[in-house]
């Protein structure tokens, strides 16, 4: 397989973008990406687009055609990719495979979601859980992660304050990200005193309902070299699936699909957790960041909370996690999230993360996750 480079990035601001329709969000991200890469639109051969449920949020399917048309790319090969909240990560992997295989040289890997369009977001998102055996019984996504949190607390002694510390840290990072939906610092009291969504999780333990799009441009490393611009290479790609019903998994305090995807990515890249300088994880809920860090091998099970409270995962710590603000502060337009994570890692590795730069970062990891852990992707990027 050919070595693949990320040669351009583009994304919208994340937030409640009431004036922007779905199609314009994607078009804006593509235009920014092509400008960043210095590549003309007629060079683009293919696009992979992650989106969870435009049918429910916006009443629009046949997405890849309409989005590439409005992005000025009509005629190219374009495919929508769905893996719930891991749709963006899955689209990135598909784009990477297309370039690595030699089938195409210039491929867009993007994602989009417009969640603020009048639909019941709780219902739309719940379709990523088992409709007949979870959702039928009143289960919500905050509820599923709340049950993981409860199991984690019971097994490892994790506390309510441990969860809150993740939100405080990510908002502190997000306050330095101009594209974040909520670029504001918050206090522990804000998290602990917020309205309860599903015990033990409150409003500030949950990522928001967001609109946004993000895309990157992939090309073979030789092409990236010819362009003479900064780029990063894809060193490892891991993708795994599991049951989407939480009750079908043996350890409810873990999310095994993350470990499975990570093992594949580490093996391919020839690196381990100790080699990683900066990380984006799928903190759809505060508990998810702790469990994902444990599954990725950065901490032993039950130890991520202590590391978070010690500042290890904050900017300036040994392993900065979610320097973008994470899903919590940056926002979580579901299909765009996996690509936005990649973009944060690319910006960190190329020294463009102004105001939140991790100095000297060479290798970064982005972990994207679907549902309560029914799918996950892990990508490892390196700057040469």
């Amino acid at each position: 397989m050919r070595e693949v480079a990320v040669i351009g990035t583009g994304m919208t601001k994340f937030g409640e973008l009431w004036d922007s329709p779905l199609r314009d969000l994607y078009a804006e991200a593509v235009a920014d990406c092509l400008k960043d890469a210095g590549v003309k639109r007629d060079q683009i051969q293919s696009a992979w687009i992650g989106c969870m449920t435009s049918g429910l949020f916006n009443g629009q399917e046949h997405l890849a055609s309409i989005l590439t048309d409005y992005a000025g790319l009509s005629g190219i090969a374009a495919t929508r990719v769905e893996s719930a909240c891991a749709s963006g990560g899955a689209a990135f992997r598909a784009g990477w495979l297309e370039v690595a295989s030699g089938a195409s040289d210039f491929v867009l890997a993007g994602g989009v979601e417009k969640m603020n369009d009048g639909a019941d977001a709780t219902y739309c998102l719940s379709t990523a859980a088992d409709q007949e055996y979870e959702v039928y019984h009143g289960v919500t996504f905050p509820g599923l992660y709340a049950m993981i949190a409860k199991a984690h607390m019971h097994k490892h002694g994790t506390t309510r304050e441990d969860l809150a510390a993740v939100a405080v840290k990510n908002h502190k990072h997000g306050a330095r990200n101009p594209r974040a939906q909520f670029p504001t610092e918050i206090t522990m009291d804000t998290v602990l005193n917020a309205v309860t969504v599903s015990t033990p999780l409150g409003l500030f333990d949950c990522s928001p309902v967001s609109d946004g799009a993000a895309t990157v441009l992939l090309a073979p490393v030789e092409v990236a070299e010819d362009l003479g611009r900064p780029y990063v290479t894809v060193k490892g790609s891991g993708h795994a699936t599991d049951s989407i019903a939480l009750h079908d998994r043996s350890d409810l305090a873990s999310i095994p699909v993350v470990k499975k995807a990570a093992e594949k990515a580490y093996a391919m890249a020839g690196v381990g957790p100790k080699d990683i300088d900066v990380v984006e994880v799928h903190d759809c809920f505060t508990i998810a960041e702790l469990v994902c860090l444990e599954e990725l091998g950065f901490f032993e099970p039950g130890q991520a909370a202590a590391a978070t409270k010690a500042g290890t995962t904050a900017l300036g710590g040994d392993l900065p996690v979610n320097t973008s603000g994470g899903l919590k502060s940056k926002g979580h337009p579901v299909g765009a999230t996996g690509i936005a994570q990649i973009i944060e890692i690319v910006e960190q590795l190329t020294g463009r993360a102004e105001g939140r730069q991790v100095e000297g970062a060479k290798i970064g990891l982005a972990q994207n996750m679907g549902g309560s852990g029914g799918s996950s992707t892990v990508h490892i990027l390196e700057v040469s």
Partner: protein, 129 residues
């Protein structure tokens, strides 16, 4: 919830009918057409035991619209006496009486009314024993 989708699930929801793989003995709830353990495709019906204990739980304060009339309610993952796990509501108990390890029994209840053109929706809930 449209009636064709609802109709198919009645044996599981009303009578707790599971599928036991005749090859390896694995019990699947709901029944599957291919055994997750051994790939077998022959099953016999096995009724689930009604008693079990709570493995984890949460009190849902902000539910989807169709459950709004029942809030707050407890959702739990229950492990039944034969090891099968399922997700359900725990009914008729204050939320602080339900915790990891609480012993429960599955009972037949109405789960939600649905919108006016939908069927009434029934199934199992747990109650504390």
């Amino acid at each position: 919830m449209l009636s064709p989708r609802y109709h198919r699930e009645i044996p599981q929801r009303y009578r707790l009918e599971a599928g036991k793989c005749t090859g390896c003995g694995k019990i699947h709830f709901p029944p599957r057409s291919v055994c997750k353990e051994c790939g077998g495709r022959a099953f016999e019906m096995e009724k689930l035991p009604s008693k079990g204990k709570v493995l984890t739980c949460t009190t849902v304060e902000i539910p989807p619209a169709e459950f709004d009339d029942q809030k707050p309610y407890v959702n739990a993952i229950v492990e039944l006496e034969n090891g099968v796990r399922l997700t359900c509501m725990v009914a008729e108990a204050p939320p602080d009486e339900v915790d990891v390890g609480t012993e429960v029994e599955l009972v037949f209840r109405r789960l939600r009314c649905g919108r006016e053109w939908e069927v009434l929706q029934y199934g199992y809930k747990a109650v504390v024993v």
